[in-house]
Amino acid sequence: MGWFKVSPLPLFNHISFSFLSVLPFLKIEDIVTLIQDEEEGVPIRTVKSFMTKIPSVVTGTDIVQWLMKNLGIEDPAEAMHIGSLIAAQGYFFPISDHVLSLKDDGTFYRFQAPYFWPSNCWEPENTDYAIYLCKRTMQNKTRLELADYEAENLARLQRAFARKWEFIYMQAEAQVKIDRKKDKTERKILDSQERAFWDVHRPVPGCVNTTEMDIRKCRRMKNPHRVKKSVYGLVEEGTQSQSPIHTPSHHCRKGTKEDVEKEIIFLNTQIDRHRMKMSKVAESRSYVDYDQFVTAQEPANPWTSDDPSLWELEASKEPSQQRVKKWGFSLEEALKDPAGQELFLKFLESEFSSENLRFWLAVQDMKRRPQQDVAQRAEDIWAEFLAEGAPSSINLDSHSYERTSQNLKDPGRYSYEDAQDHIYKLMKSDSYTRFLRSNVPGPADGKEESGHNKVYSGLTSNHPHIM
């Protein structure tokens, strides 16, 4: 194979920088290696056609069948999906088409040479592509004729490389000379593999370019040493302008001594941290009834029925049975829903303990204010809820009270954190339970919706997680 100016790179030589970029390829490449195995693979053979022989091919159906059998796939569509993925990356290709897809029929496919596999991190330059297109025009073979889009590409490259076209032409001639020395059958195979390589890197317009990388990963993965290798062994000076996504990364963070020391400190704190047993954690209460994707909702999902009444209902103050039921799951759920919050507040007012919830809500609001308003709000809250003789005095234990008044010497968003937690726990263990058991009056306008009045009774029996 004389035209391999750069010798075929064994996979593992290349991976010193990281396995990251080749991880997805490795799994596919395991499959691609197996599928070509003499004993266990697909039947690759030479097919006699009209006046000629087609070497080294296999049918699409054979590939699909093999995938189903060897990957344990029952659904042919799934096998097609995987097969198409492998084809799109050029590991095998249709011998008579530039479009890299898999068909489950008698279409012939050939396997790509490992030299051209994506894991070798090819980023072929346009000069290589120009040489390739150019040399195809030099040989008088129908199978090597350029497709329309390739002819257009060649014309564009001729304009772009006008000044060094002589050099490109010479390289193309040299390649043709080398190719001519090869055996006819070998040439057929190599030419098709070379074409498939370019179909991956310069795809037919409209096809997905599978070599496109996520720009966030670009800099870390390909060619860390910035050596551009040429398919045809050219040594290029850096004449290509660098796109922003390929500018060298200036922040290569390695594990410094300081990092390791910090990590050790952190790990030491983690050894004895509190952990819950898996069995306890695994008790999961199912909200499945509330999941649109699993069970259909009443009223109908507006997306499928074009009926927005569900959204109107959600926005309204007259909650559905199901929504009300949710308030029984936890205090958090009740407070999340504005209607639930309102009802809970009313209930607390009836018990003359609404100052707790009002305090909690005031602190939540303060936390969302712009920085410059926070200090003032903090003081207002102190005056309203905590100062001596405050109009809505709340009941804090002396410890939290002390800490809070200390915090207020330098008021900030989290000055009331302890106090808030304390009050929340109080509401949860005390008022909330009574709220659930109470018979709450119906909506404010006096209309009595059936079922809403006694909606909370019986809830606690279904939900052991309350409290």
Binding site: H251, M278, V281, S286, F293, Q297
Partner: protein
Amino acid sequence: MEELRKEMENLKDQITAVRKTFQDSTLQEAAAGVTVVGRVQLKTRKTLRGHLAKIYAMHWGTDSTLCVSASQDGKLIVWDTITTNKVNAIPLKSSWVMTCAYAPSGNLVACGGLDNMCSIYNLKGKDGNVKVMRELAAHTGYLSCCRFLSDTEIITSSGDCTCVLWDIETGTQKMVFAGHQGDAMSLGVSPDFKFFISGACDFTAKLWDIREAECRQTFGGHESDINAIGFFPNGNAVITGSDDATCKLYDLRADQELLTYQDPSIMCGVTSLAPSKSGRLLLAGHDDFNVNIWDMLKAERVGVLAGHDNRVSCIGVSSDGMACCTGSWDSFLKIWN
């Protein structure tokens, strides 16, 4: 230095051993009595057309009908997903955008990317024009993700391996969360807004206390970059998606991995993920153009969303749980349910 590294590895082994002692059961055993969710088949209800290049990110507004998307065509588009109309089409200074976010209030959107900045836009400006309100600049690497805590605070993650809490009013950094040894790729805020989680290219996920600017927990186990991360709806667990083609569920209280979602036929990395409203289902977007739907309790694949012609780069479930939105490199967004 060698000594230090040995000590570090030693501690890590100890922690692994301790975690094992709490494994008196597995989620699979506990869920043995639960029936698998039946086959989940979601259909495309809307296709949002308008972007001219790869879509890198999308985020639902809290009203469940508006969403924002960011594309490499240099535009941020706010969509009314029901009518498919573009409410706003915001031209960006830098077209290399990688993330976008919608503030819970609906007043602001944010985006950022290779410009290393997080730009905040006010959607409700007086004269109706959408303008840049703040440019939060301090990161020394690309902006991979951003999420609002409120109209006054936002958290960002960056390729410089740190996450930052910003005060939007003053445009300054309030807290820096450093600790990851690789690019921080994604972040998620807890339902109570007290914590956030980050996934990075050092293969770990970290839980951070927003108030104390400290890392509370670190979770490992993935074999490659973590590209996507999200809280389980009840806030007690964390879900991660990685280039190693798997998703994992970590419980915060047990401090360890509960489940791995993987299948030999899934060979492409996870780019994005979103749990369904109840947390029973996990939707994961992959490089192979598909979204896989998992039964989270049973770790079985129960559905596939196939409809994009290029990789799925972002996914989100609306807050009312009614619909899921996917964004792709094929320049389209699709609404499914």
